[in-house]
């Protein structure tokens, strides 16, 4: 499969600050790709480089097969962007902004615009300065989604949307996904959204890629947490590789175990004798928390 976004070893410096420090991002054509990382990790900066708004200081990047800096204008006909901070022209109405951005991009589908206005329940006649935060976000979303483009770049597109509207957003993206020819890069802090929509994801921290893969791949990186009541002392369990945060309280144990070490750990428990057992499945939240907090290598 060809890659819609292909960035390797991306470096971006702002004076003394190094915002991106060898970032890798590979997004295949037709997939919905989650782009995650703690605040200030460099997501918006990466997206601005992909859009040719900023120039990278090192590494290589290609977007839809072209150079995002030198071929920006031509490439932009084939993509739509929802910025993280949506501001509208105060004196233009929402409907005017949607039309304007669509036409500047090279045209928009009036029927789709009407449909999206309906689904997102947006009044397009209000002036930009009078919209609430969530409604401003909707204007930008509708402007992006009503153009027929190959690539959607969405920077925290649902920030400020209420749960109902977030659901509408998910439905719309899933419909796009079913068409199969649209690629979506979705930067987000909402894990449920990423879980529901994304085929693959990339996690970055301090301007570097720390994990990338499918959700299943990443789940393998997570740990199952186990609580058990035992018949005897669990000798050797604490030192087993892959067992973490081991706590013993009389006959009760509590520990986290890596997916690979799950089998040997359970065997050990069975040997000792198990009176009760609670196991918690690997959660994405934990994975993210762990990735986000990891000390610098």
């Amino acid at each position: 499969m060809t890659e819609a976004i292909d960035a390797t070893g991306l470096v971006k410096r702002f004076g003394q600050v190094t915002a991106l420090d060898g970032l890798d991002l590979h997004v295949a054509t037709g997939e919905v790709h989650g782009f995650l990382g703690p605040n200030g990790a460099g997501k918006t900066t990466t997206i601005r480089i992909l859009l040719g708004l900023m120039r990278h200081n090192g590494g290589s990047v290609s977007l839809l097969g072209g150079n995002p800096w030198t071929e920006a204008t031509a490439l932009h006909r084939r993509l739509a962007y929802v910025p993280g901070d949506v501001t509208l022209w105060p004196t233009l109405t929402g409907g005017e902004v949607i039309d304007l951005l669509g036409r500047l991009r090279g045209g928009l589908d009036a029927k789709r615009k009407a449909d999206l206005l309906e689904r997102f329940q947006l009044d397009p006649r209000k002036k930009g300065r009078t919209y609430s935060k969530g409604n401003r976000q909707k204007v930008a979303l509708i402007a992006a989604l009503s153009s027929d483009v190959e690539l959607l770049i969405l920077d925290e597109p649902t920030s400020g949307l209420d749960p109902l509207m977030e659901e509408v957003f998910r439905e719309v993206i899933l419909e796009e996904k079913r068409r199969g020819d649209r690629t979506v890069l979705l930067s987000s802090h909402i894990l449920a959204e990423v879980e529901a929509l994304c085929d693959r994801l990339t996690i970055i921290r301090d301007g570097r890629t720390v994990e990338t893969g499918t959700l299943t791949d990443l789940r393998h990186l997570t740990r199952t947490s186990i609580q058990a009541e035992l018949a005897g002392p669990p000798d050797g369990l604490a030192t087993l590789t892959g067992v973490h945060d081991f706590q013993l309280d009389h006959d009760r144990v509590r520990f986290d175990v890596d997916t690979e070490a799950l089998e040997p750990a359970l065997q050990k428990l069975v040997q000792v004798g198990v009176r009760s057992l609670v196991s918690q499945p690997p959660s994405l939240e934990e994975l993210f928390l762990r990735q986000y907090q990891k000390a610098d290598r």
Partner: protein
């Protein structure tokens, strides 16, 4: 008014450079005039002669106001007659910056949620600005005393500026309540200042002739403060009038504040069209610039009508006044006098047009900072197209407003040669473009410091105001592109400087655009 004190300190912290700068700089300018007037007119007779000519010169009266005496102090105070306009401008902008601009940016919301009363922010902005005005007056008084000027007059002179600052702080406070955007608040405030100026000019110039409209000066705060006549009559009751006005304006602003919602203006927002009839970069640029263009065009037309109308009284004085005809003859006869008057006003008009051009250029920076540029540039619009469509209005806008001014002047002065007057205005265009191009250069190369684009017009204004009076070196005067523009009507119409200025503007613009092409957006 809980929290006012804390907010005053916050304002002082945020303005710790700009505020002292204008307070001290504007306060010191008049003291510089003392030595130069002493040098230019060392004897009593020379001063009387100069005062006589100046007092009846409509161009001078337009710029500086009425002149009644011929003592050194009176001449200096009169020559500083443009200073109240600058003080007023600084006061307006300071108050709006710390009221509506903060509210629009959402900073007020942070503060409003803390333990401060509803009126604290307005009160803090007003107090700080008024105190700054009073300090400016004190600096001025001290500097004049330092030059050995009479005490009473120096105090009155300082009071003139202090009162101006207070009165227009009040005006700024009112305009800040009217609309929800700081930009419109500033525009309304500047228009209000323009109206005050025009009323003062109308009244003062009318007083030169038959005086039927001289009451106009008395409906303008700028007129009141000039009627203190420092070093002359030292009249104090206009000061009382100004103080009452300030109190009334502040009160009005406070009442308006309680009448409106947070973040809103007094005028309710209305619904607009659900779809756009436009969709090109050019149409967007037109949308962004049309308000500015229409506003400035109207202002310039009004300015032209005044300058043209005043042109008539320049001649009237020449023919009416037996004693002066002698002097006029030496100055080159009545035609030369009228010509030099129009050439002089054309220079002022050019400088004002440059302010418009800089303001229009900095719209690009506004668009970048608000994130609108990011949205537009992520579509199929290139940076050159985006900046270019905006610059189209930056370059053409001044041509439109200068034409409006020239035509209006010609219209209001039918006995003159319309072509020559219009030419005198339009030759300013290349100089205007140079200042606009410097703004483009700043925007392209040092975007975060784009505001330095205001320094060149400020310097040119300084050169216009003090250059000749202080008899500064020619090289200093040459810094201003307006120095190189032919003085029309009356002077030699040479194309060389115009071509050179245009080329310089083109070069600077191209460099700025190249910088824009290479840099981060937003930077």
């Amino acid at each position: 008014m809980t929290g006012t004190g804390k907010l005053v300190r916050l304002i002082l912290r945020r303005d710790r450079i700009v505020l002292p700068l204008w307070v001290v700089l504007l306060g010191l300018i008049p003291a510089g005039y003392v030595a130069s007037f002493e040098g230019l007119f060392p004897t009593e007779a020379e001063r009387v002669n100069y005062a006589q000519v100046s007092a009846s010169n409509a161009g001078f009266v337009t710029l500086y106001g009425p002149l009644h005496g011929s003592s050194l102090g009176e001449l200096v105070a009169w020559r500083a007659g443009f200073l109240p306009v600058l003080v007023a401008l600084c006061a307006l902008l300071t108050v709006i910056r710390h009221t509506r601009a903060d509210e629009e940016a959402g900073r007020t919301e942070l503060i409003g949620a803390a333990a401060v009363s509803r009126h604290a922010q307005l009160a803090a902005a007003l107090i700080t600005t008024c105190v700054a005005g009073v300090l400016l007056g004190a600096v001025l008084t001290a500097a004049m005393l330092g030059q050995g000027m009479p005490a009473m007059g120096s105090v009155a002179f300082g009071a003139e500026m202090a009162l101006t600052g207070c009165a227009f702080a009040g005006v700024g406070a009112i305009t800040a309540q009217l609309t929800s955007s700081a930009r419109s608040a500033r525009s309304i405030a500047v228009v209000a200042l323009g109206v005050a100026f025009v009323l003062r000019v109308g009244g003062d110039v009318s007083a030169l002739g038959n005086g039927s409209l001289s009451w106009l000066s008395w409906v303008s705060p700028l007129g009141w403060v000039q009627h203190l006549f420092p070093y002359g009559v030292n009249d104090w009751w206009p000061a009382v009038l100004t103080i009452l006005f300030t109190i009334a304006a502040a009160g009005t602003a406070a009442v308006l504040l309680t009448r409106r919602d947070f973040g809103a203006g007094l005028l309710p927002a209305r619904l607009g069209p659900a779809s756009a009839s436009f969709g090109s970069p050019f149409a967007l640029a037109w949308h962004l610039h049309r308000g500015l263009l229409l506003g400035w065009t109207a202002g310039f037309a009004l300015l032209g009508l005044i300058f043209g109308g005043v042109g008539g009284s320049v001649l009237d004085i020449a023919s009416d006044n037996e004693g002066l005809s002698d002097i006029f003859a030496r100055l080159g006869g009545s035609t030369a006098l009228v010509d030099s008057y129009f050439a002089g006003t054309a220079g002022i008009v050019g400088l004002i047009a440059a302010c418009y051009a800089v303001q229009a250029t900095l719209r690009l920076r506004d668009e970048e900072q608000t994130g609108h540029a990011e949205a537009v540039l992520s579509t199929a619009v290139s940076r050159y197209t985006w900046a270019g469509t905006n610059l189209f209005f930056v370059l053409l806008g001044p041509a439109v407003v200068l034409t409006a001014e020239g035509l209006a002047t010609g219209l209001a002065y039918p006995q003159g040669d319309l072509g020559a007057i219009l030419a005198g205005t339009l030759v300013q265009l290349p100089a205007v473009w140079v200042l606009a191009a410097l703004a483009v250069l700043a925007f392209g190369l040092i975007p975060r410091l784009s505001a330095v684009a205001w320094a060149p017009p400020a310097l040119c204004l300084l050169i216009l105001l003090v250059g000749q009076t202080l008899q500064l070196d020619q090289w200093f005067l040459d810094i201003s592109p307006f120095t190189h523009v032919p003085h029309l009507p009356g002077g030699d119409a040479t194309a060389t400087p115009l071509i050179a200025l245009t080329l310089l503007a083109a070069l600077l613009t191209a460099t700025g655009m190249a910088g824009l092409r290479r840099r981060n957006i937003p930077a």
